[in-house]
Structure formats: structure tokens, C-alpha cells
Amino acid sequence: MDQFWHYLARSSGIVATILLVAALLWGLLFSARATGNRRRPKWWLDLHNYLGGLAFFFSVLHVIAIFRDKLSGIGLVQIFIPMTASGWEWGITWGVIAMYVFAAVVFTSWPKRRLSRRNWLIVHLLSIPSTVMVAAHAWMVGSSRNGLWFQALLAILAGLAVYPAVLRLIGVLSRHARRRSDAKVASRSLAGVR
């Protein structure tokens, strides 16, 4: 039975990471004005919300399985308090902080927004550094971290997360630049009228 928890922890961690990146990808594609594609926005948003919730569920399952695995060395203290896992402090710490941030992202968006739009957006965008922390956690303490397939999987997931984030950033910057130039044109035309 102990082996069951050990392998459940490893597999649920991998699946949670994949779901997290998928939720991030869906959310960035949904809001990516730079790509200009907004096919069925309700479908995108609904699936994005569901993937985020599912990723959170599998993350919780991963933590529970780690806790139940008696030889993992992870107890309640190590789960909730960073820098308390002896032997791999930073590796586990990244996972703990990512878990807290992810929980904040999920519970400020579901079932309904409890913050103002601006504050909600700031919290929601913390999901991007949270994904980076998850990758660091997997890279440092993943049981399969020496396997080539695992490293390749992490590289692919990193690419899937970074690419739409960069596209989104470019879209935001170009929109700001457009607004500034429109404002300049408008002010010049007003000056000309006067």
C-alpha cells in the first residue's frame, strides 16, 4: 500500500503539472488579443476555468499522496511551512509557495470574483510565476528527474507556457503603444483646430 501512495504522488504530480500548463495556455489564448482569434469565447473560458480547478484538485491529491507515503519524509510541517524539508529545502519550498499562490488564484476566481477587477487580475497573473515555481519543484525533487523523458516533458511544458505568455505580452505592449500614438494624433488635431 505504501508503494501505491508513492506512485500516486509521482503520477498525480505529473498530471497536475500538465493540467496547470494547459489551463495557463487556454487562459492566455483566450485573452490573447494579439493573435486575433476569439472563436467561441464562452467555450474557451469555460474550459480554462475547469482545467484550473482540475489542476488544483490533482495538486491537492499529489500533496495528500506525498503525506501518506511514509518514506517521503514530508509531514504536515513540510507541507505548510517552506524551508522545513531537510535535505531538499528549496525544492520543496518552491512547491509549497506555488501551492499557496495557485490556491489564491483559484479561490479568487471561483465560484465568483471577490475582488475588484484590477486586484483580481494581479492575483490571477501570479499563476504565471506559480507555473515557473512548479517547474523548479519538479526539476529539483521529482523522483524521475534523472530520466530523459521527464526532462523532455518539462521542456515541452515550459515551451507551451512561455510561448503564449510572450504573445500576450507583445499584444499588451503593442496595444499600449497604439493608444499612445492615437492620443498624440488626437492632441495634435485638437491643437490644429484651435
Binding site: Q3, Y7, W43, L51, K70, S72, G87, W88
Partner: protein
Amino acid sequence: MATMTTRTDLSASRPPSSSATVSDDERAARIARLQASRGASGSAPSPGTATPAAPARRQHPAKGARALALFASVAATGVIGTGLAFADHLDASQTVSTGSALGATTTAAATGTGSTGIAATVGSTTATTAVAATAPATATPVTATTAPATATTAARTATTAAATATTAAAANAKYADGTFPGAVVTNRWGNVQVKVTITGGSITAVRTVQLPTDNKSVAINNRATPTLEAEAIAVQGANIDIVSGATYTSRGYATSLQSALDAAAVAVSAKAAA
């Protein structure tokens, strides 16, 4: 009153109808119908009007995709977990086979050269352990590929005799007193080597000589090795269970311990022959 005045004024501004004024009864009925259609609480709908519709349920446009994602996640968890368990079992099996061959070789070296010889022989075989093909413990070709060139002939000859002695010794489980180091078993995390202390023909202590040194392995091994030692002393042999979460360490521990016990058994045979 003001309301009634307003209503009267309004009705006066409208085109004349068949009845110039709206009676109180008609007004009351109209108000009741309006309230019923709006689903106001406490007011009974008048006959003939439709009951208010139930609040619309939340729609999920991506219902199919959600179900697919849930199914895929659960299935992936099961498949990945099973695959990891199978891969670990496969790796551990290969480690056991290779380690057993090492044990036979080490036993041969221990007969004539002592612990230094063991270290020298094992040090040269460690490099090839990872690529050595799985082979039976008594196979001479394994020795040919793993033993150093300078000791190949002697090791080849000694291995066959040592393999026979190993079998006999394992059956009788009699060990010479002393401390006997086991073979170095290499796994994906590093080297595992133990030494066994035998007093009065019984195993009294098993100490680790080498273990993987990365942080996570150290933490896992610190918890696993006391359990492994206790089991080895309890069963008085190397037939110990794998500690969950420390599969590689357990396998390497058992293999190295077995080779140490083989050396102890051979020492007994040598003394008896002498």
C-alpha cells in the same frame, strides 16, 4: 390618493375606450396579473396566467471537453503511475542480476586478496556495471567482461569455484566471525555498498559503506537503512523486503549484503578445509 389621481389623469389622456374609467376591480386584477407574471412572493397568481419559470441552470459550453479532460486526467494518472512502477521494477531487476554477478566475482577476489582486493576488483567492475548485460550469477562470460584484465584468468577460475561455494554456503547459512564488505552495486542514483559484522556465526550489524550522495537520496536512505538493517538481523540473511520509496537502495543493499555473506560463508569453508 395621488396615485389614483395620476392614474385617472393618465386614463383621461388616453384615447377614449368603451369604458371611460377603470374600475377598482379591474385595476386590482391587472395588478395581480402583473405580480404573478413577475413571480412576486405572497401573491397568488390569478387563474389563467402562467407560473413563473424556474431560474435558468448554469450553462457549460464546453461540457464535452470538460468530460474528456476529466477522463484523460484520471486515465493518465493511472497509466503514468503503473508505468513508473513497472519501470522501477525493471530497473531493479537488472540491478539485482548485475549485482549477483558482481557478488560472484567479488567472492572470488576475496578468497585470495582480502578486502583491498575486493575494493580493487569492484572498483574496476563498477564502471562496467551499468552496461553489463543481465546474466546468471554463475556465468563465466560475465566475469570476462567485468573483471580487470590483469586478474581475468585468476578471477575466471576462482569464480566457478566461488559460485559453487556460494550455493553451498547459502544452503547452510553458516558464517565466519568478522566484518565482511559486500560488493558495490551501482544504480541510477549512485553506489550502494554495505559491510556485515558477524559474531558467533550470526549477523549482529550491517553498516553502509557507500550510498548515493544527492540530497534527496540521503534523506530517503537515512530513513530506509535502519529498517533494512533491522530486517537483515531479524532474518539473518539478505532476503529482506524492499522499503517503499527506496527501491533502488533496498535492492542494492540486499545484493551487497548477500555478497558480503557469501564472503563470510566462503571464509568458513576455507577454515574448514584448512
